[in-house]
């Protein structure tokens, strides 16, 4: 059974159809990519999946539950986490705290045990800290645990956002352009990290990327959006040779030459 099933999703802003009747399925344990030119509606599609926007039409079924119209935090609690295209960390909190925030739904200490420093609360906090540290070493920034998130270099901020997303023990992580603004070396490391997410942690990944080398090297399936509509879907080979995709990227008339 598919882990995530979005059917006929449409999202309209005023007169602009940002996502147009898109159907999209993700099998558990896969890495899939969503590509498309700027303004194609990729981020909007993520926002619909994660509950930031309600779709105007269509249904989203995740982990066997119809989550259409659910609140963002409910969807996150069910195990769908994301990163943001323009990095949204809690800049004035420490690196470790950012990861702890990601764990919020797994922390249950009551207000009384917090006020009285109950044993369960202390134990839960200590466990959470250990787990957060483990995640920070997984992404490779454990030595920066006490720094403020806003002071991290750009690449580390991207890593932290991934660690924070992992902190909720998600079934699926949606990555919105995780290598944007990175140099080739950093991009290679990020690619490695994304692979390890799936291979070592079993987390399903949906990836929005403009870096075609990365997309082609890592994805098992690719969906292509253009002007809000899905114009192609398939494995790497099928997308590479699809004339409509080439046209969308290179403009009309390019399809004949590029193949």
């Amino acid at each position: 059974m598919a882990l995530l099933e979005a059917t006929n999703i449409t999202k309209i802003f005023g007169g602009l159809v940002a996502v147009n009747d898109v159907t999209f399925t993700v099998e558990p344990g896969s890495i899939v990519s969503v590509i498309g030119p700027n303004g194609a509606g990729k981020t909007t599609f993520f926002n619909v999946l994660t509950g930031i926007y309600k779709p105007d039409k269509g249904r989203v079924v995740f982990a066997g539950k119809d989550i259409t119209g659910w609140r963002s935090d409910q969807i996150a609690a069910l195990g769908m986490r994301r990163t943001f295209q323009n990095i949204r960390l809690f800049g004035n909190m420490t690196v470790l705290e950012n990861v702890l925030i990601g764990m919020h739904v797994h922390l249950h200490a009551s207000i009384w045990s917090i006020i009285f420093r109950g044993r369960t609360m202390l134990r839960e906090e200590a466990k959470a800290r250990n787990k957060a540290l483990e995640l920070l070493s997984f992404v490779g920034i454990a030595d920066k645990r006490d720094e403020l998130a806003k002071n991290l270099p750009y690449g580390d901020q991207r890593r932290l956002e991934i660690a924070r997303a992992m902190a909720g023990d998600p079934k699926i992580i949606l990555l919105d352009e995780p290598t944007a603004g990175m140099n080739p070396h950093e991009t290679a490391e990020a690619t490695q990290l994304i692979r390890r997410l799936r291979d070592e942690r079993g987390i399903t990944v949906i990836l929005i990327e403009h870096d075609m080398r990365l997309v082609m090297s890592i994805s098992e399936r690719i969906s292509v959006l253009d002007y809000g509509s899905k114009i192609a879907e398939g494995d790497v080979q099928a997308i590479r040779t699809n004339p409509r995709v080439i046209e969308a990227y290179l403009g009309k008339g390019a399809a004949g030459h590029a193949a």
Binding site: D73, R88, E97
Partner: protein, 449 residues
């Protein structure tokens, strides 16, 4: 820009050795002792005493933030607040009243700091919850209750103690009732609605003398009961002559001190918990916070209700201490004043809120009137101040100017949140207690086998 950073590093260079290590112990002890001696040897009511008094209270905050052993802080605190200040109060009763007042507003500022500072919700009607607690005790402890129903009679004054809890619950309920519809709103809307709510409570208090006289309208409620002093006979037996008013002054001072202590503990623990982190995340970036699974409305409601409950408790204490309340006691200016304490001290900072409360209370009760008095004397003595100018009328203006200047030169507040140091501290405590926890369990297992 450069000057501010270099002056900050200079400040840090000076304070760093004073706030940890053996020097810190000596420094703190000396500081507290010096202030205490200055106070006790010069108990007159004048500006210099005011300054020493503020420094004296400030020493407690410095101690609170220094990295010295907990027992040392407790010793200093008990000595300064438990012994020196009350003794000083017997020499000059005026100051114990000021201290009590400052304590009441410290608790209020700490409560509002949860709402505004931690969760980032601008609440301009905070005093409403204070009013709810105050009116609850005012109505139920006086014959005012018979106005509502002639068959009812005032509760026994000893009920004051359970009413502290009732005040807390009333504040909580009012907070939730207001918060539920309002907290879905964002930023500015919330500020306007809370401002309106604050005024509504005041207007209701003003007009609810008809058809049924519940609040006695603009007349206010008089002769509010004070709780019986339990150990008063023992004190008299010791040969100490003290009239009731003096004793009540001390009683309310200690009561407020205890409540402030409890408030600080509760607020600090919340701040460093999953709840405090969630509040901070919402404040920093609501969308990102919700994407981590944090239920936005529920967490905001929690902050709102907790803040309101502190105000509810203090309302009960305030009514009983003042003996008299009326609607203007709870006007918008009061809310703004408490907000000014939080912002002046540094939003989200616990010592900041306390410092803000102390300074604003001192300015209000002592320093500004004193400055006005000095100006008036000068005027009478022929200084070139126009006769139409009445300095007492301009206290608020001076207060406002001070705030503006503060916000220009130190927008982060007098004592901003020192996050990282605190974090490290927090980890230490947790680890220690966990260790203790483990050994305790081991000991239990050993003795069991």
């Amino acid at each position: 820009m450069t000057t501010s950073t270099s002056s900050q590093s200079l400040w840090q260079r000076v304070t760093a050795p004073l706030s940890s290590g053996p020097i810190a112990y000596g420094f703190l002890a000396l500081y507290v002792l010096a202030c205490s001696i200055l106070l006790v040897t010069n108990p007159r009511t004048e500006l210099s005493t005011d300054v020493v008094f503020v420094l004296f209270l400030l020493s407690m905050l410095v101690a609170y933030r220094s990295r010295v052993a907990a027992w040392f802080k407790v010793v200093l605190g008990v000595f300064a607040l438990g012994v020196v200040l009350p003794y000083f109060g017997t020499l000059n009763p005026f100051y114990i009243d000021v201290a009590t007042q400052a304590g009441i507003f410290t608790a209020l500022a700490l409560g509002l700091n949860v709402v505004v500072g931690f969760a980032g919700l601008l609440d301009l009607g905070y005093v409403a919850f204070f009013a709810v607690g105050a009116y609850a005790w005012g109505i139920f402890s006086t014959p005012q209750i018979t106005e509502i129903n002639p068959a009812w009679s005032p509760v026994d004054p000893v009920m004051f103690y359970p009413f502290l809890i009732i005040g807390l619950i009333l504040g909580l309920i009012t907070g939730v009732l207001l918060g539920l519809p309002v907290l879905r709103l964002r930023g500015d809307y919330l500020a306007i609605v809370t401002l309106g709510f604050g005024e509504v409570i005041r207007v209701v208090a003003n007009n609810l003398d008809r058809p049924i006289n519940i609040t006695n309208g603009s007349q206010g409620i008089r002769a509010i009961e004070r709780p019986p002093l339990i150990i008063v006979d023992q004190i008299r037996n010791l040969g100490i002559v003290a009239d009731d008013n003096r004793l009540y002054q001390l009683f309310f001072y200690y009561l407020v001190l205890i409540i402030v202590l409890l408030t600080v503990i509760v607020v600090a623990r919340l701040k460093h918990s999953r709840i405090g982190r969630a509040w901070e995340a919402i404040r920093e970036d609501e969308v990102a916070a919700v994407a981590q699974g944090i239920p936005r409305v529920r967490m905001k409601l929690l902050a709102f209700a907790i803040g309101a409950s502190f105000a509810g408790v203090m309302g009960v204490v305030f009514a009983s201490k003042q003996l008299f309340i009326n609607p203007p006691t709870f006007d918008l200016l009061r809310s703004i004043n408490i907000l000014a304490m939080v912002i002046l001290g540094g939003m989200g900072s616990i010592p900041g809120a306390m410092l803000g409360a102390i300074i604003v209370t001192m300015l209000d009760l002592q320093i500004l009137p004193r400055i006005a008095a000095v100006l008036r004397e000068a005027q009478a003595a022929g200084a070139p101040i126009p006769r139409q100018f009445d300095p007492t009328q301009y206290q608020r203006l001076l207060f406002g100017l001070l705030l503006v200047v503060m916000m220009i030169f130190r927008p982060e507040g007098l004592w901003p949140d020192e996050r990282r140091r605190e974090e490290q501290h927090e980890v230490e405590i947790t680890d220690e207690e966990l260790e203790a926890d483990k050994t305790a369990k081991q000991a239990g297992a050993d003795s069991g086998s």
